[in-house]
């Protein structure tokens, strides 16, 4: 359940942004979470509500944008979707693949007041 720590990180970063960007309330937080990032979206929602209490993101809506896993195959040069780190190339069976998307854990945008 490291989602609680991740949410603490999110709130900390947003509170710093609140100081530098001059906002006092956040109504929506958009996060990008990759399919290979090892993060449970449900747990993020649960933790976020708990961690946000009493901060600038109190009662803000959390929107999680899922980023699909993608990889390049070094053998056949195809770009293919992957659901796990150890997936083999769906075209030629080669592994390991070079992951190019799906590891994201990022605060993308905020709607602020």
């Amino acid at each position: 359940m490291h989602e609680m720590s991740l949410c603490e990180g999110v709130v900390q970063l947003i509170e710093e942004q609140a100081k530098t960007q001059g906002f006092t309330k956040v109504s929506t937080v958009w996060l990008e979470i990759g399919a290979l990032a090892g993060v449970e979206t449900e747990a993020m929602h649960f933790s976020f509500t708990a961690v946000a209490r009493g901060t600038v993101v109190d009662s803000a809506k959390l929107e999680v944008i899922d980023v699909a896993g993608m990889a390049n195959c070094p053998a056949c040069s195809q770009c293919i979707p992957v659901s796990a780190r150890f997936d083999v190339c769906s075209e030629c069976g080669h592994y390991p693949l070079d992951i190019i998307a799906g590891e994201e854990m990022r605060i993308k945008e905020l709607e602020v007041q």
Binding site: T20, R106, I107, L110
Partner: protein, 274 residues
């Protein structure tokens, strides 16, 4: 709450950590700045959209970078030991500390949710140990380790072992500033663990396959386990050891000596270049 940096540590406790000291890590360094990506029409709403694009782990990574800097200035080889609970991590560690204690400086940071039992086992070997209790936390983070370092000097030009909370999931994402993550897997677990918990094996540079003295009593397929680990992390080094019988431990000690030597070489190069 820390009176120096204002950090709230929640349920985390670090023994010997009184918070009356300076921090080596800076708390407010280099954050990205979101630019205004769009503004709603004036008069319609006061809300605006800020494009942030910040890595959620950026805070932890700043602390980890500060720790790494500290380790390198002090010539410390730092290893983050990760495993499931019950893999034999502490037994492996106490045997290692006992074996190497007359040869090089060593210290231990122990992470557990509760109790100081492991730190006591470590101290019984004569090696300095600091216990971090994470409360409900399931992993150590770089900030906790930064605080623990303030009370730790014994590992200068030696080895600092950080024994993470027993958990094959959460500690994978948190860089502590270590040189290597070392994952310990015991043969009493399933050989498919690397596929079930790929993030941890991907993050590790060395896998210690522990409790090999029990292999005659088990159906554990060593070759298959190594193949699974290398499917997740090609090139991961694997050593088969038994912390109880001592079998295979010499190769581990050699790996430690060689890794420490490379840290010391970088330190003397840095001194020569200064």
């Amino acid at each position: 709450m820390c009176t120096t940096c204002g950090c709230g540590e929640g349920e985390t406790t670090i023994d010997g950590h009184s918070h009356d000291h300076s921090h080596m890590h800076h708390h407010h360094a280099g954050h990205g700045h979101g630019a205004i990506a769009a503004t709603h029409a004036p008069g319609m709403s006061k809300s605006r959209i800020l494009r942030i694009e910040q890595d959620i782990l950026s805070k932890n990574n700043e602390y980890a970078a500060a720790n790494r800097n500290h380790f390198s200035r002090h010539g410390m080889l730092v290893l983050n030991l990760v495993s499931s609970p019950g893999s034999g991590k502490t037994t492996l560690l106490t045997r290692t500390l006992t074996q190497l204690k007359d040869e090089l400086p060593q210290a231990v940071i122990e992470g557990d949710q509760q109790t100081v039992l492991d730190a006591e086992r470590i101290r019984a070997t004569g090696v300095e140990a600091i216990q971090i209790n994470t409360g409900k936390g399931c992993h150590l983070d770089a900030h906790m380790v930064g605080h623990a370092l303030e009370n730790l000097n014994a590992a200068d030009e030696g080895i600092l072992f950080i024994e993470n909370v027993g958990n094959l999931v959460c500690p994978a994402a948190f860089d502590l500033g270590e040189a290597h993550k070392v994952v310990i897997l015991s043969v009493t677990e399933g050989e498919d663990k690397p596929l079930k918990y790929p993030d941890m094996f991907y993050a590790a540079d060395l896998m210690l396959l522990n409790k090999t003295d029990l292999l005659p009593h088990l159906t554990f397929d060593v070759e298959k386990c190594i193949e699974f680990a290398r499917r997740v992390k090609p090139g991961i080094k694997v050593l088969q050891v038994s912390a109880i019988s001592g079998e295979g431990m010499d190769a581990w000690y050699e790996w430690l000596r060689a890794s420490r030597q490379s840290v010391l070489s970088s330190l003397s190069e840095a001194v020569a270049g200064a």
